[in-house]
């Protein structure tokens, strides 16, 4: 088995510790950036849902600011966003390179997308449920927490999977601007030094990772849906 791997992936096997480190970096970037952007996206998604015209607590000002900001950041290609954020990243994180430096652009890049996804998950909650909650005398925080978020859980899981997959994609891009991770590894060896086996090994690992995320997501949806 090991012989076979040595034969097929010589450049990977000779750099196994580095390959493994890159994998860990990717996982750290996905998990940390994912968790931070999840919290932000839920806050933004709820804010947009509640303040939009006809929402539970319409507020044109708040709605327009968040809505436009989300659109603005979503329209910038991520690689350009990551590059242009370098000075800000250095100021916020203390460094603009490595896994630490990659987290900030990842969060800024994925949160607007995630927020839109959460917003659409919340929009899927039957307006009749909201009306029933109001008729029961629930206040705004209670409706958000006990109806909107609670009833949207299966959809939130679904959109989180989609977002995580996009995020894995983006971690490969931040590699280019010095972020480390599997993408960086594949570009440095596979692309720049023509080590095709490195590219292929990276693809296999990323495909397995995405598959795992989707499998866990599906299981979670099944558990949470009645």
């Amino acid at each position: 088995m090991l012989n076979l791997l040595d034969q097929w992936f010589p450049n990977v096997m000779s750099r196994l510790p580095e390959f493994f480190d890159s994998f860990v970096q990717t996982i750290i970037m996905v998990v940390v950036a994912g968790l931070i952007s999840f919290v932000l996206a839920v806050i933004l998604g709820v804010a947009v849902t509640v303040t939009k015209p006809g929402g539970l607590h319409p507020n044109r000002g708040v709605f327009n600011v968040i809505d436009k900001l989300i659109n603005l950041f979503r329209s910038i290609p991520f690689i350009i966003l990551a590059a242009s954020l370098v000075p800000v990243t250095r100021f916020v994180m203390g460094t603009a390179i490595g896994t630490k430096g990659a987290l900030f652009p990842l969060v800024v890049g994925i949160t607007p997308f995630f927020a839109r996804q959460i917003q659409s998950a919340l929009a899927g909650v039957d307006s009749g449920l909201i009306e029933a909650a109001q008729a029961m005398g629930m206040g705004l925080p209670e409706i958000i927490w006990r109806v909107y978020l609670r009833e949207a859980i299966p959809s939130i899981v679904r959109v989180s999977v989609i977002t995580l997959v996009s995020l894995i994609d983006m971690t490969a891009v931040v590699g280019v601007v010095g972020g480390g991770g599997l993408g960086d590894f594949a570009i440095r060896y596979g692309y720049q030094r023509y080590m095709m086996d490195v590219t292929i090994a990276t693809i296999i690992v990323l495909v397995l990772l995405v598959g795992l995320v989707e499998l866990i997501g599906r299981l979670l949806v099944e558990i949470t849906e009645h």
Partner: protein, 346 residues
């Protein structure tokens, strides 16, 4: 009788790009304690908007609307939420939370601090009341429509409201289930002293449980009153159309248009429609006129229902006999407060 919901000159407008649309105009309504008040109208007539003004889910633009003496427009949001504990509501689409069990759905409606044991006891008491004790741990998706509506009713009663608003609660249900839900509502009205406002587009629902009815059309009330009086003598065209849906007596007109021999009076005969329009009718009228005036009474159609404990409806008959005797019989019926309509006389 004290009025628990008092509505005066209520007006509501929707403004859109195309201009203003009047949703409700000049609504006057008094719902007394213990009433089962039906509000009937076609879709888009404004009845759902009206009922949503009662618990403040919709704002109104003019007029006054007081529930238990409190003007809804004057309430702060906290007071409004407190009021909603006393005004339960059920919906056409049931609106149960799909992610929660039946028991959890009912429990969700508790407002304020209530300890766990009280909650649990109250939930099982309510589920027993609506006959769903064994479904406590089921999810709404596993229940039939009728069962879901029963859960919704239990949920609406958690805070022991004095008023229940029912917005097309039976419109998504089959006729048998509709009957059982209406029977449950009537039972809750009788045992808990609930005041119920029933929104519907089905006159049969009004006939089944309401004691008062308001007919609403294009945002205005065209007719209102006691259910018996409205059914016995509808005035507005829309009301007549609604009443006709609950009776088969109007079929006679179809038969007449088709020149059916069934409704073709022969010489000396009278095709007659008799309407029960007063509550006191309880005697054996047909056999009485038949015996007393020696005429034959051939019943073509009959549609008699019991509304507010009095017979309501009527007969379409052909009277056969001596012309003078028939006139005497008609005079007698008029005297007995029977609505007489001679459809055809040969």
């Amino acid at each position: 009788m004290s009025s628990v919901i008092t509505i005066r000159n209520l007006t509501k407008k929707y403004s859109s790009d195309e201009g203003e649309k009047i949703a409700l105009s000049d609504i006057d309504l008094d719902v007394d304690k213990g009433d089962i008040y039906g509000i009937i109208g076609l879709s888009g007539a404004g009845k759902s908007t009206l009922v949503r003004c009662i618990n403040g889910l919709e704002h109104y633009d003019g007029g006054t609307l007081a529930v238990n003496g409190k003007e809804i427009a004057d309430l702060r949001s906290k007071e409004l939420r407190a009021l909603r504990s006393d005004v339960g509501m059920i919906f056409q689409s049931f609106n149960l939370m799909p992610s929660r069990t039946v028991a959890a759905n009912v429990e969700l409606a508790f407002r304020g601090k209530v300890d766990a044991k009280t909650r649990k006891d109250r939930v099982s008491e309510l589920l027993e009341l609506v006959g769903l004790t064994e479904k406590a741990e089921a999810y709404p998706g596993e229940l039939s429509g009728g069962q879901q509506q029963r859960v919704a009713i239990a949920r609406a009663l958690v805070n022991k409201p004095g008023i229940l608003l029912s917005d097309e609660a039976t419109s998504a249900l089959d006729p048998t289930t509709t009957k059982s839900i209406l029977a449950l509502l009537r039972n809750l009205h009788d045992t808990l002293g609930l005041t119920i406002v029933v929104i519907t587009h089905q006159m049969s629902v009004i006939k089944e449980i309401c004691n008062k009815v308001a007919v609403i059309d294009h945002g205005t009330i065209v007719e209102k009153g006691n259910v018996f009086d409205i059914f016995a003598a509808p005035k507005a065209a829309l009301t007549k159309a609604f009443v006709a849906t609950t009776s088969n007596l109007d079929k006679v007109h179809e038969l007449l248009d088709d020149h059916s021999p069934l409704v073709e009076p022969k010489p000396g005969q009278v095709l007659l429609r008799m309407n029960y329009i007063a509550k006191e009718v309880s005697e054996a009228l047909v056999s009485h006129i038949s015996r007393e005036f020696s005429i034959d009474v051939n019943i073509i159609f009959a549609d008699i229902d019991i509304v507010e404990n009095a017979p309501l409806g009527g007969l379409v008959v052909i009277l056969k006999g001596d012309s003078k005797k028939i006139n005497d019989a008609l005079a007698y019926l008029k005297e007995r407060n029977i609505g007489i309509e001679v459809i055809d006389r040969a």
